[in-house]
Symmetry: C2
Subunit: 293 residues, 2 copies
């Protein structure tokens, strides 16, 4: 098994490349759930879904949500005066309803996400990092905002809002799930995807027991840097890394993951399937070279 730790787009793209290289049976993605949010009573899980949509080849070109989706429910909510600051397409919402139904029926988040990936026809495993709720909050402009609110309302995706700190509410009570522990234990390689080291990968590594389980695994651990030419390809990663007192670029990544990784794959663009496969292959080859012989 190749275990890929992933937040949003960067990690999801790498996972998609890895799917081509190792096949669905050998791919397990451990996804950040710190961005999860309940909207209109519906459980939305942005990073696990983003990964699932990428793996299903159904990601929309806008970078999130499902391709060829429609917006009827959001239009009706807005017409009714509802706040639709977090916009979900109709089919995207349908996936969230499947998840919510499973959760209300007593399923663990791991099982609920499996219902979503199954519905999308994804053969690989997409595992929430923990079944307990962890809610990443961002301190910005003196306010403490849930991650998605910071990203959407605070202009986070354009990097406009200042980042003063990150809080991971609930993380002390979270634990890696049995599925996550099994994947890490059986892994031939553990790959940290090129997602935001502080706000996306940070919550995964902050789950008590996660770093220990990674360290205990015989698999080599390789991170793929999210920086290309000294800046993150997408999103507010620069602001988070800078706020954490780390330099932008490979050095910052190595320091963010200090003690957790054996090696770093330098910055690459992954904007085509071939490029995604290439990065996946390079990463795996690099991991293999690090394996104790």
């Amino acid at each position: 098994v190749v275990a890929v730790l992933a937040g949003g787009t960067g990690g999801a793209k790498l996972a998609r490349g890895m799917l081509d290289v190792v096949g669905p049976e050998r791919l397990t993605v451990i996804a950040n759930t710190g961005d999860d949010v309940e909207l209109y009573g519906v459980h939305v899980s942005p990073d696990p879904d983003l990964v699932s949509y990428w793996l299903a080849d159904r990601i929309d070109e806008r970078g999130w949500g499902l391709r060829e989706d429609t917006w009827k429910v959001m239009e009706a909510l807005e017409a009714a005066g509802g706040r639709a600051w977090f916009r979900l397409g109709d089919a995207d919402l349908a996936m969230c309803l499947l998840r919510t139904e499973a959760l209300r029926a007593g399923a663990r988040p791991t099982e609920a996400q499996a219902a979503v990936t199954r519905a999308l026809g994804v053969g690989a495993s997409v595992l929430p990092m923990a079944d307990e709720p962890v809610r990443t909050h961002v301190r910005s402009g003196g306010r403490l905002l849930p991650f998605q609110e910071f990203m959407i309302l605070g202009g986070g995706s354009s990097g406009g809002a200042p980042v003063e700190g990150v809080e991971l509410q609930g993380v002390e009570a979270a634990r890696p799930t049995p599925e996550v522990l099994a994947a890490l234990e059986r892994a031939e390689a553990i790959v940290i995807g090129p997602s935001n080291p502080i706000a996306s990968i940070g919550p995964i590594l902050a789950v008590p027991g996660m770093r220990e389980a990674i360290a205990a695994s015989p698999a080599p651990v390789v991170a793929v840097s999210p920086f290309v030419g000294g800046h993150a390809v997408k999103g507010p990663t620069d602001a988070f890394v800078a706020q954490a007192g780390l330099p932008l670029g490979a050095e910052g990544v190595v320091r963010a993951y200090a003690g957790a990784i054996d090696g770093l794959v330098a910055d690459r663009l992954m904007d085509t399937p071939a490029a995604r496969r290439r990065v996946a292959r390079i990463t795996l080859d690099f991991a293999a070279s690090l394996r104790p012989s």
Copy 2:
């Protein structure tokens, strides 16, 4: 205030006629919540919403749901292999999301329904009969089914499935809300709409304290019969009334509401706005004639 007790279509049509006759400020509808159901984690409230859609002039001609609605979410759920036995249009779902959001934020069902009716621009009050959950179950073919499942899966709307009994789960713990009690107390007339006396009005009257509050009100209580020519206009009312051992027609209605009503308005069709207004006016005039002078 005119207080109208309503289940589905019959009561909703009468309420719509009453809206024209007395205006929104003077109309309060007390709606059956025994058909409520949670679907995909979303709280669906068929009767209060049906009444609200009628009052908003947005009822679809199929007899439920919103006019000109679309079905994108249901299509996506079905494409994903989800069970969509209960079909909700996208805008209909949006109303349910508004309700669910309010409930998850701690609102009472009464307040959550008010958010929906406000969103629809309805000025009249649509009150759930109780804030506590009551779930009407139908015994049919040896099975005990939630009302909506009986209606949709069991062919209930075509009257095809046998009715062996009705159970109102949770009704012992339910109480009329403060809003319902206030409306009954201030009412100049209490009107029982032409909905199913057993399965729709029955749950309202079965809420402990409801019959007492109606009896304590100085207002005359008039029922409008759901029977036209000895049969219910729509739905499985005949089967429920027969199963309860009551004759179809006015006599059955009088016996179903024994002790609760002062008079009965006979069977009328309400298939045009003018007809709905006429029944509303007749009912009010009749109620006025019953008022102690």
